[in-house]
């Protein structure tokens, strides 16, 4: 029995096998119980021949295994090519909806302030004039107190004209430090047009603690504005007047469309007015029993519609109330 010749013949047969079935036939013929190799091994008498035959069997086994997996892989590849689909073809899909754009911005703002360690407070929308005006230091004769500007339920009850009453309600029940934001619907007697709506949304922020400064306010608003309009934005703060803050400021952000060069979005000024802010007026602290010598604070109140319109460049805020899916599905 010539082990070498048998091995050469088996290796050649394995290499020639072209299917899973064929390689199985080769395996039986060269390694099966009735194969010449197995018979020779059964009959072997001397150690040297035995070692040579075993080595030949191992090499043959390895070659047949390798060829077998090679063929299996080729067969799988061949099958997969026949299963290919047009990956560019649209599919039915799961149905999906969208959050309202204002809700998306509301959550963005909430998340910025949650990250800064603020809590979110749900104010109420129907308020007494005490919380809406008196406790916020609105002077007698302030135009906002007029029924021409504000929606009254009765003489002492109004639909809140800003989210600020939530400041007072929070401070009444909580000692400083206070770090809150409050977002929600507000109401004014405005005839609806492209930039006005009798119902709109505000974000109110309030921080009261020992040592709060105007610089803390501008730093906080700078942070928020860059989160909302992009990290490259610059901010500017200009003096203003509000009854419930002193000093009062108005926040501006460099135009995100032209980056300050001037364009229609910023009315060619390079700056976009975002909203009011200021240091909490001591009269507001007095109304809730805080000591203005010990505590200072800042507050701001901005319209969310304005942020939405500026950032997404749609011209008419009434779209936000029309609920047309062709609008909501874009955001």
């Amino acid at each position: 029995m010539d082990a070498d010749a048998l091995e050469r013949e088996g290796l050649a047969a394995a290499a020639a096998a072209s299917s899973a079935n064929a390689i199985e036939v080769v395996r039986v013929e060269y390694l099966g119980r009735k194969s010449a190799l197995k018979q020779a091994l059964r009959e072997v008498r001397d150690r040297e021949t035995g070692m040579a035959l075993n080595a030949a069997r191992e090499r043959l086994e390895g070659a047949i295994d390798a060829r077998e997996s090679e063929l299996a892989r080729a067969e799988l590849d061949a099958r997969l090519t026949t299963e290919s689909v047009d990956v560019t073809l649209p599919v039915g899909g799961f149905s999906r909806g969208k959050l309202h754009l204002i809700t998306q911005i509301r959550r963005e703002v909430e998340d910025v302030f949650l990250g800064l360690g603020y809590s979110v407070v749900d104010g109420r929308e129907v308020e007494t004039i005490h919380y809406n005006f008196d406790a916020l230091n609105f002077p007698a004769g302030h135009p906002a107190r007029s029924p021409l500007a504000t929606l009254f339920v009765d003489e002492t009850t109004v639909l809140r004209t800003e989210t600020s009453p939530s400041q007072v309600r929070t401070m009444e029940v909580q000692e400083p430090p206070v770090y809150i934001v409050s977002l929600g619907r507000t109401y004014r007697r405005d005839t609806p047009d492209a930039t006005h709506s009798p119902i709109f949304h505000q974000v109110e922020g309030l921080a009261v603690d020992e040592g709060i400064t105007l610089a803390d306010l501008t730093g906080t608003l700078d942070f928020l504005l860059r989160k909302l309009f992009g990290e490259k934005r610059r901010t500017e703060f200009r003096t203003h007047y509000f009854p419930f803050t002193e000093p009062s400021i108005e926040a501006y952000v460099s135009c995100h469309v032209c980056d300050g060069d001037g364009c229609p979005v910023c009315r060619h000024s390079g700056w976009i007015e975002v909203g009011g802010a200021g240091m909490v007026d001591p009269a507001v602290f007095a109304a809730v029993g805080y000591d203005p010598e010990r505590y200072s604070g800042f507050a701001f109140g901005w319209g969310l519609e304005r942020i939405a319109m500026l950032r997404h460049e749609f011209p008419d805020l009434r779209e936000l109330w029309r609920n047309d899916l062709r609008f909501s599905r874009q955001f």
Binding site: S95, H100, I102, G115, R124, H142, I212, T218, R322
Partner: protein, 764 residues
């Protein structure tokens, strides 16, 4: 308020340009909406083509009846021929001339020499509208005599002007004046405030002026001055030009002077034709109920006790602080005037002007609270101008008040400023800022507030603001230093976000609909006292109407796959002044009952709640497809409310989330797997699935852990009025795996109880 820069520079010496001034004012004082350029463009040598000229010859054009042929001295040595269409001048007139090459506003190209009807015209004699000084085009401008011909016109008239268009906040009425703006500019731009030096004319023939005030609260001060020998006519060019640049129309010298002085000091004035005042005096009082006055605009105003009137003692002659009366208006023939420089209380004025819908330059200032001290310099300047420009003589003066307010003194701690602002502002700088703004500061930091700031600076914090606004562009950006940080969403807020997210993931888009509705199912729902319209009169107690409208909007738009939800408040009448505001989630989706149930089930499941709907009756739901849950309702929308088939639901968040467990405890359903079997039972048609499942679970406890209906079959095999209900059963105990024999015992108990309660038969 429009502030022409050349006028402003009369009161403040400053190097800064208009745009630099605007920028500083914007940050620290008020909003400058824009800088308006008016007049002739100051580019290249354009202004050098504008000269003063003297008319040496003027005759009718030989070939045109409507034109004059003129020879002018424009300082060139020889005369210059110009053809002109105006006839309001003659030989000797001093006029404004534009030479060929000048680019005039509104003209597409520079002026050139050209023949007009055969005669060469080498320039143009100018009317005020041609160089942006006014709107008059009836004739050319006549300049005062005595100006050297050939002088640059820009030395004589503000031929190019920049105007600051300002909007001030309501606390700074002092900025509705040129002197107020000048003070700010001087402070912000290192300028020097220039005093207004006016000599009060002497009273030439002292006469009696009777002024009395019945309502000293409404009118704390009334200065009246009588001027005789007035000649009413047009204002001189410089005054017309200033008013035009400031956005005011020139009317006559007398009226222009009152407007001019109002612009200078911010304290409005009024001039009466004194011959129309019975007795020539003034009585200020409240109107009688129903009293009438015809105001300058020709409208008959019906008044009541709330309105302040200026009367002559017998009849009303002006609506105090708002508008003069028509009868005593200045006319061409007026020769004697009573000049009013008064002071009025703001709130009453605001209320009258709002009620009458009548807002004027005057009321706009008075309603914000004008400094009573300003009446006097205003009266002096106006008298001076009436004497100088209208040939008047001052013959009487009265100043009635019961004491003018003292200047307040407020203590400032400069270190307090720094603690509030978060910037170290040297105390000497603070002192300097305050002093430049007109405050007086002594060595103890007792700060005396100027009278024109008496209303808005009363406390230390108001002084802090004065410093803060001036240094505002230097304030750094820092973050609060926190000792305690506790930011979080409440459980309710997290649940609201979760409900929104579940619905969005289920294919619903969020809608925002009006809180104010036309009608509401709750008869006690809150109603606005004076709604903007009937559609927005009532505070809603349900979201349904808004969602139906939103769905209809989308149907009309031709959108498909309509599925909308809203998570918002409703306002439930509480019996108290304030309603109970409750969060609700509502939805509307094209489809039937199963769409509503799927959505509600998704919400319940996400919140670890079990949905157990029960049949109910609600007017807005399909009577056969209406279910109540622990927190609201769901079902098919009643077809009368919207065409098509729609599923709707509304849940109260408070009721929905109340039963949510604090913690969810682990249940070991893995170690010993359940044994599953199916059964089918035949019962009467009206038996509800939930009743069967409840009974099965009751009978099968504790080994039976779950029973779920998976099929309902009607047909011949079960008979009329009956149905076959197929149910998955799942048996499981925590300490061992159950055998078929164990399950068979439980199953027998179940079938027995079903038979007893529902006459159920086991099928198959």
């Amino acid at each position: 308020m429009r502030a022409p820069l050349s006028w402003l520079r009369e009161y403040v010496r400053v190097d800064a340009t208009a745009h630099e001034i605007a920028r500083r004012l914007n940050v620290s004082t008020l909003e400058v909406d824009r800088v308006i350029d008016i007049g002739v463009a100051d580019v290249g040598d354009n202004l050098s083509y504008l000269r003063v000229g003297k008319v040496v010859e003027a005759a009718k054009h030989p070939n045109a009846d409507k034109l004059q042929l003129c020879q002018l001295d424009v300082g060139e040595g020889e005369l210059r021929q110009i053809v002109c269409g105006a006839w309001n001048f003659g030989v000797g007139a001093t006029v404004a001339v534009g030479l060929p090459g000048v680019l005039l506003p509104g003209f597409p190209a520079p002026l050139d020499e050209r023949p007009l009807r055969g005669e060469l015209s080498r320039g143009m004699i100018l009317a005020e509208d041609e160089i942006g000084l006014g709107s008059d085009h009836d004739g050319i401008m006549l300049l005062p005599g005595g100006i050297e011909p050939g002088s640059p016109l820009s030395d004589v008239l503000p031929v190019c002007e920049q105007v600051l268009d300002c909007t001030t906040t309501m606390n700074r009425v002092d900025l509705l004046s040129m002197v107020g703006l000048a003070r700010e500019v001087a402070t912000l731009c290192n300028g020097q405030l220039l005093p207004i030096d006016v000599e009060d004319p002497a009273i030439v023939r002292p006469g009696q002026v009777d002024v009395s005030i019945d309502d000293p609260e409404g009118c704390p001060r009334y200065i009246a001055r009588v001027l005789e020998g007035v000649s009413v006519g047009p204002s001189p060019m410089w005054l017309r030009a200033r008013l035009h640049a400031a956005g005011m129309r020139s009317i006559s010298n007398v009226v222009d002077i009152t407007n001019y002085v109002m612009h200078v000091y911010g304290s409005p004035l009024h001039a009466f034709d004194r011959t129309k005042l019975d007795g020539g005096g003034i009585l200020v009082r409240r109107a009688a109920d129903g009293e009438e006055l015809t105001t300058l605009d020709g409208t008959v105003r019906k008044l009541d006790e709330r309105d302040l009137l200026i009367t002559d003692g017998t009849k009303a002659v002006a609506l105090g602080a708002i508008m003069g009366g028509l009868d005593s208006e200045i006319s061409d023939t007026t020769t004697e005037i009573l000049l009013e420089a008064a002071n009025f209380e703001p709130i009453g004025i605001l209320q009258t002007s709002e009620r009458l819908g009548l807002r004027t330059e005057g009321s706009n200032r008075w309603e914000k609270g004008v400094d009573p001290h300003m009446a006097e310099p205003a009266a002096v300047l106006a008298s001076r101008l009436l004497v100088d420009l209208a040939g008047a003589e001052l013959t009487g003066a009265a100043d009635v008040h019961s004491g003018l307010p003292e200047r307040a003194v407020v203590r400032l701690r400069p270190e307090r400023t720094n603690r509030i602002v978060g910037l170290d502002v040297d105390s000497e700088e603070q002192r300097s800022i305050l002093e430049r703004l007109g405050f007086e500061v002594n060595g103890d930091w007792d700060v005396t507030v100027p009278t024109w700031r008496a209303r808005d600076v009363t406390r230390e914090i108001d002084l802090v603001e004065e410093v803060a606004r001036v240094v505002l562009d230097r304030v750094p950006h820092t973050m609060p230093l926190r000792r305690l940080v506790a930011g979080h969403l409440t459980r309710e807020q997290r649940h609201r976000r979760l409900v929104e997210d579940v619905l969005v993931g289920s294919g619903f888009s969020e809608a925002y609909t009006w809180s104010l509705v036309a009608a509401d199912p709750d008869r006690n729902a809150l109603r606005l006292a004076d709604p903007m319209s009937g559609d927005q009169a009532i505070l809603r107690t349900t979201l349904l109407d808004g969602l139906i409208a939103a769905a209809r909007e989308n149907v009309d738009a031709g959108n498909d796959g309509i599925a909308l939800f809203e998570l918002a408040r409703v306002y439930l009448p509480s019996g108290e002044a304030l309603p109970e505001e409750r969060w609700r989630v509502g939805g509307i989706v094209a489809g039937g009952f199963s769409e509503a149930r799927s959505a509600v089930e998704a919400i319940y499941d996400a919140l670890h709640l079990e949905l157990r709907p029960a049949r109910t009756t609600v007017p807005h739901l399909h009577p056969g497809k209406a279910a109540a849950t622990t927190a609201g309702w769901l079902g098919g929308l009643h077809p009368a409310l919207l065409d098509g088939s729609w599923a709707v639901f509304e849940l109260d968040l408070l009721e929905l989330t109340a039963p949510i467990p604090e913690r969810v405890l682990y249940d070991d359903v893995i170690t010993f797997p359940p044994l599953r079997q199916d059964i089918a039972v035949v019962v009467a048609e009206e038996v509800e699935a939930a009743a069967l499942v409840d009974t099965i679970l009751e009978a099968g406890a504790p080994e039976l852990r779950a029973a779920n209906v998976f099929d309902v079959y009607h047909g011949d095999q079960v008979g009329a009025g009956r149905k076959s209900v197929a149910i998955h059963l799942s048996f499981q105990v925590p300490d061992r795996t159950l055998s078929d024999a164990d399950a068979a015992v439980v199953r027998d108990r179940v079938i027995a109880l079903l038979a007893e309660r529902f006459d159920a038969e086991l099928r198959g």
